[in-house]
Amino acid sequence: MKKNVRWRFILIGITALLSIIFFLPSTPVFQSMPEWWKKNMPNKGITLGLDLQGGLHLVFEVEGEKAVDVTAERIAASLKEILEKKGLKAEVKKDALGITISPANNEIKKAVEDNYPILTLIDSGGGRFLYRLSDKEINRIKDSSADQALETIRNRIDQFGVSEPTIHRQSTNEIVVQLPGVKEPKRAIEVIGKTALLEFKLLDDENPIAAQLPASVLPGDEEKLIREFGPKIPIEDEILFERVVNKETGRVTKRVYLVKKQTLMTGDLLTEARVNIDTRFNEPYVSISFNPAGAKLFEQITAANIKKRLAIILDGNVYSAPVIQDRISGGNAQITGTFSMDEAKDLAIVLRAGALPAPMKILQNVTVGPSLGRDSIDAGVKAGIIGAILVIAFMIFYYKLSGLIADFALVLNILLLLGAMASLNATLTMPGIAGVILAIGMAVDSNVLMFERMREEIRAGKTPRAAVDSGYDKAFLTIVDSHVTTLITAAVLFQFGTGPIKGFAVTLGLGVAINLFTALIGTKTVFDLINSRREVKKLSI
């Protein structure tokens, strides 16, 4: 019996010590620890949630439909070529319904099905075939576009320079991004969310319409201009804009371009994008390099279009439209424009990291400033200390020496909870702090249950030692039952909650589990220790 008590006492001592070692890095004391300690002992501590340290929580939806659309368009274009090569006269059109091919004959049908088995024929009436991508293929495209988007986002964030970002897929088309401690949330969102589809297209300057267009419009008037000129512009052309900032006045205007719709080249052949400074005007620009295939293509394009203007377009906006002076070999090009240094850097990042396979939409954006987090921690710590003092005082007042033992369990409880959280590297959130504080209030419940039992036993005339033993025995099952039920709610909260709520579930769950340990082993050991020394005549309870 005596030995048993000693072992339990040692067990408690070890867990308490471990908790202190694990929790130490979360306290300011850690800074003044000797070097060897910092190196060899746990040094991570508790991670603070976004709501406590400030930062950005974003949920993006990858619009996979768009990627499906682009694929269908590409297939339509390729089918047109294939049929032409076979000498089959056919019209191939991609619209909202799918890919329409007319006329409908067996030769065409065979050619389509041989080349693109992923197409499903859904209608063949009216002398035309209507094809659509198979459901399996549509799902595959959506899934892989979300995967690719995840990879691209990860690349961009790495290059943007955020320490400890969390990026993961939440469902088939949702991506959660958490950036703790980000100082410029707006810029970060732009870098992540830019589709970064880089295209090279020729301007249609020879078209008489080009001369009729105004040189520039005010921001906001783009739609109006497109509506006005819409019927006049040829189908193979479109109107695009370039954002121009006047250096002296800072005024923003939109330069108007008539651009041929055909894409000559896209950014997927790019290998490098770097920010350089134009020494003449001291302006940043982005220089890009192509891979060998890209370099060859770029050389062909420039050779065939000397003296014409080539528009460099990112996500539908023109960045610059230089005149091609000569054939450009070697695979290097420049994107100039009115950039600030940050804008040029961000542009280089998104170009390097590659284009998103589909545009993304922000579903949820939570930004927490660093000062709110600081205030929250201070308030939480204060509430915790006051709550603990109140409970400790109440227990001593009501249960005397036994209350003090319960308080020992309570302090042990808080210590182990913090240590467990630190060792698991769990994330502490604001509701999590509430969880810790509530755990303080509930921690003494097990002891209250036992103490009340002991009092009953003493009233029934039992000796203090017998009262302690049977009090523990009888309260045991009740304690287990009451803890399990709380664990059920914690588990549910963990399963269904996100972010801060999950943090709350973790502290609540851990708190309950640790409470079982301290209540059943912690206080019992102290009582046994007292009882084993000498025969206690009267229990202070």
Binding site: T367, G369, A490, Q495, F504
Partner: protein
């Protein structure tokens, strides 16, 4: 020995019909709140309704009126203002789920920083939630509550008897409904933090109920010749002091949280305070009486 309560012989079961009256009123109130939440007519937080919330901190105190005028003139409509005068903080909420996010918060911040040039606002936090996420969070919260209740029903049903499980579940459900109903009547915001408070209350209230049930079960075995009603009454009386002491300690910490825990946890701790009180009531006046009247079959000796 300091004792608050000693050898009480209160006839709790005898008062069950009054209790059922009160419980009925509370439950109906809670159900109305649930319906209003489902219809979207309650004061839903933006995590459920979708929209934008911006919290700004000023150097000096700014009357809400001035902010309202500034935002009105800036072309915003349909916004809610809430202030924390002690900390010079203002919460602005626009409950309009936009398809594309980002517009409102930027607009609010630029309007305010232009308007209050010598009392510069600092952005504490912005939250933008699209309508889709709002609907999803609402669904998840409902699902979480249902799953938790089923889990409790199964566990208590397994550990005790099915009728105890029913009693515990109804009592727990009653507490969740009561706090939700009170929040609804007080016009307080119903949001995700409240849902986690409600589930915590469910856990707490259940703990309370289970302690009472444990004693009832124990006494039913020992005192088989007495009527169930008498055994229940004396069991509740026996654990009454424990019930009150534990409620007191949890109340103490909830109150500390309410007064010192900061703005984020204000509503959470308020809900906890209500929940502890209601949970204590329900474990005495709701759970056991339901077990008592549930079916006339004799209690098996489990």
């Amino acid at each position: 020995m300091i004792e608050l309560i000693r050898n009480t012989k209160i006839d709790f079961m005898g008062k069950r019909f009054y209790a059922f009256g009160l419980t009925g009123v509370i439950s109906i109130l809670g159900l109305i709140a649930v319906i209003q939440v489902a219809r979207g007519t309650a004061n839903l937080g933006i995590d459920f309704a979708g929209g934008t919330a911006v919290q700004v901190k000023f150097e000096k105190n700014v009357p809400l009126h001035d902010i309202r005028i500034a935002l009105d003139e800036g072309g915003l409509s349909d916004f809610d203002l809430q202030d924390l005068p002690t900390e010079n903080k203002i919460l602005i909420r626009v409950k309009k789920g936009e398809e594309t996010l980002g517009g409102f918060s930027e607009k609010i911040i630029s309007i305010l920083s232009q308007r209050f040039l010598n009392n510069k606002p600092v952005v504490d936090s912005t939250t933008e939630i699209g309508p889709k996420v709002g609907a999803k969070l609402r669904k998840d919260a409902l699902l979480a509550t249902i799953v938790a209740i089923i889990g409790i029903l199964i566990y208590v049903g397994w550990r005790f008897q099915f009728r105890f499980g029913v009693g515990a579940t109804i009592a727990t459900f009653h507490d969740v409904l009561a706090v939700l109903g009170l929040f609804y009547i007080m016009g307080r915001e119903i949001n995700l933090i409240l849902v986690s408070a409600l589930l915590t209350i469910a856990g707490y209230s259940l703990t309370d109920t289970v302690v009472v049930f444990d004693r009832i079960r124990e006494n039913l075995k020992l005192r088989q010749r007495e009527s169930v009603e008498v055994v229940m009454n004396s069991s509740i009386n026996e654990v009454l002091s424990r019930t009150i002491i534990t409620s007191t300690t949890v109340l103490l910490t909830s109150i500390a949280l309410f007064f010192f825990g900061g703005e984020v946890l204000h509503d959470f701790s308020l809900a906890m305070i209500m929940g502890v009180i209601i949970g204590t009531y329900s474990s005495i006046f709701v759970a056991s009486p339901i077990v008592l009247i549930w079916g006339k079959r004799p209690f098996a000796k489990k």
